[in-house]
């Protein structure tokens, strides 16, 4: 390895450590890492900008704008009250139904946004049925994190796969002649929820049909809700048929967002809609800049051929025993992403697997393995996923007490291990074994 490669690797490692120990703001640390790489000559400032996948950034911002309006339509509250009716006021069932609802929403909406939408409407239901807030909000957090990877829109990792491997919307449903992310994760999700019901929720709280009947929710402005949901669905539909339209996904997302903003602004005071300015202020710009820096950082490793070298070092493992290699990759990923921010890890491995592919190692099973393990493992602790940190804070605020690590692990370890084990069986049978020869 040359000196520049060592230096680049060192800057990358120091940046990741800075992000993990959380002494410095993660976004600032990542941007600093990129700046140091530019000053060192790993890449020029123009190359750093070119290494960022702006298409993915456009998807994120576009969908976040639409989701921002969606959160204000009152539909999440209305859906939560419908969940209460479906559960018949049975607390354990309500938790499962709310988790399922969160999972479905998070396939289209960012995880943190999804939790911020669902937790405030779930908590009054929890109070009515005397459900402890902590397990309920944590289940909402786990579910949002879990199902974000099922489709292309819900989280950054699937969008990274779109960027690195060219996975399209339908590839997340059916890819290479076999079921992929959506069917595998939805079945895993349902089985995990069933397990969690028997594990901790079958006798929680107090069933109260009368208490449930008292809670009502209505959509404040049906026209605003209809326009927002309509545009959301149209945007998702257009993204699903991106190849026919022959434009980038980010362009579709931004177009959908702009059209929605335009319609709402033109209708002005006739709707009870938040202003565009308000929605823009609510966007998590810190996360946007973190993701921008992440692409540049990992791009620095790619440009200096460090990922190439790492892929070469890993190649014998996959070439001699593909099943063992993929299995190790899956189960090593789980605890790592449980303890460190998972996006950087996933992006690095997606690039590395692409480089592995040039030497004849089948890439698709490994890409899915990293994506699924990277997402499911991140449910282990709050360090793995920002969404869980948000959920934990909401639970602590509601219960007016601190939640200890052992209390958190009592729920997260069960969810994480069971979901990971179920998903591994599907990954092995559907993806790894068929490619092992």
């Amino acid at each position: 390895m040359e000196l520049l490669q060592w230096l680049t690797l060192a800057v990358f490692a120091v940046t990741i450590v800075a992000i993990v120990i959380n002494k410095l703001d993660a976004t600032v640390a990542a941007l600093l890492g990129v700046a140091v790489m530019v000053w060192m000559g790993t890449m020029t400032e123009v190359e750093a900008a070119q290494l960022v996948d702006w298409n993915v950034m456009a998807i994120l911002v576009g969908i976040w704008v639409i989701a921002g309006y969606f959160g204000r339509t009152g539909i999440p509250s209305w859906l939560s009250v419908q969940s209460l009716k479906v559960s018949g006021g049975r607390p354990g069932l309500l938790i499962v139904v709310l988790s399922m609802l969160t999972g479905i929403l998070s396939m289209f909406i960012d995880n943190v946004v999804c939790i911020l939408m669902m937790a405030p409407v779930a908590l009054p239901l929890a109070r009515a049925l005397k459900i402890p807030a902590t397990p309920l909000v944590l289940m909402i957090g786990f579910s949002a994190n879990f199902m974000g990877t099922a489709l292309l829109l819900g989280d950054l990792p699937p969008q990274m796969l779109h960027s690195v491997a060219g996975a399209e919307f339908f590839d997340f449903i059916w890819s290479q002649g076999r079921p992929s992310s959506f069917p595998i994760l939805i079945v895993t999700f349902v089985l995990t929820l069933a397990f969690m019901y028997f594990y901790g929720f079958r006798s929680i709280g107090k069933a109260s049909a009368a208490g449930a009947a008292k809670i009502k929710a209505r959509i404040p402005d049906p026209l605003f809700a209809t326009i927002t949901v309509g545009m959301f669905l149209l945007t998702v539909l257009a993204m699903a048929f991106r190849e026919v339209l022959d434009v980038k996904l980010g362009f579709i997302a931004i177009t959908g967002a702009i059209i929605l903003v335009l319609i709402l602004e033109l209708l002005g005071d006739k709707l009870k809609a938040p202003s565009f300015e308000h929605i823009v202020q609510e966007l998590d710009w810190r996360a946007v800049f973190f993701y921008i820096a992440l692409f540049a950082l990992v791009g620095g490793l790619e440009k200096t051929h460090i990922l190439d070298m790492m892929a070469n070092a890993m190649k014998p493992l996959f070439a001699t025993n593909y099943v063992l290699g993929a299995t190790l990759l899956y189960w090593v990923t789980i605890p790592i992403v449980g303890l460190v921010e998972h996006d950087a890890y996933i992006l690095t491995f997606l690039y590395m697997i692409r480089d592995l592919g040039t030497s004849g190692v089948p890439t698709w099973p490994l890409w899915w393995v990293v994506l699924w393990a990277g997402t499911l493992g991140s449910n282990l602790t709050v360090a793995g996923a920002p969404a869980l940190y948000v959920a934990l804070r909401i639970a602590e605020k509601e219960e007016k007490r601190k939640v200890s690590l052992r209390e958190f692990l009592s729920w997260s370890l069960a969810f994480c291990l069971v979901s990971s084990a179920i998903c591994y069986v599907f990954a092995l049978l559907i993806w790894i074994l068929p490619y092992s020869n």
């Binding site: 929680i204 939640v403 209390e407």
Partner: protein
């Protein structure tokens, strides 16, 4: 001199020793006794000495915690009754006994904390040395440590 003495308990021998001394002191001062216990949250996993040792549904676990907490608080209640002292019991759900003790002292306007050292783990371990140390470090009212 002291009007409201806080006696934390976890049922350990060390905390019971503190109960005896605390009640005797309260009797001498004609003070009120406030007893507090930090109960762990009811999760499906049962911990003992900070190690997972079993499984119970949260409802079953809650009943176990309540029974155990009541038993430990009742020890102080009986001692206070025997000494003809005013008494109040507080049960707080928390995995952080030091914070529970300090918060209760503040909320109940206690002017002295009497607590033991060298406790055990799990529910009985809310009085491990570090808890006493944290209370000693952060308390704004006098703390009497019984060895």
């Amino acid at each position: 001199m002291f009007r409201n003495i806080l006696i934390p308990t976890d049922g350990s021998p060390a905390s019971q020793k503190a109960v005896r001394r605390g009640v005797a002191l309260a009797k001498a001062m004609k003070a009120k006794i406030t007893a507090v216990i930090a109960s762990p949250p009811a999760t499906p996993i049962i911990y003992r000495k900070k190690m997972p040792v079993g499984y119970a549904t949260p409802n079953e676990h809650q009943r176990m915690i309540n029974r155990s907490s009541k038993r430990h608080l009742d020890v102080i209640a009986r001692a206070a009754k025997k000494a003809r002292l005013r008494f109040e019991a507080v049960q707080i759900v928390s995995d952080f006994p030091d914070e529970t003790i300090l918060d209760t002292a503040k909320k109940k306007k206690c002017d002295l904390i009497v607590m033991g050292t060298q406790g055990q783990g799990g529910l009985r371990g809310v009085f491990i040395g570090s808890t006493t140390q944290k209370v000693l470090n952060q308390s704004k009212i006098p703390v009497m440590v019984i060895r």
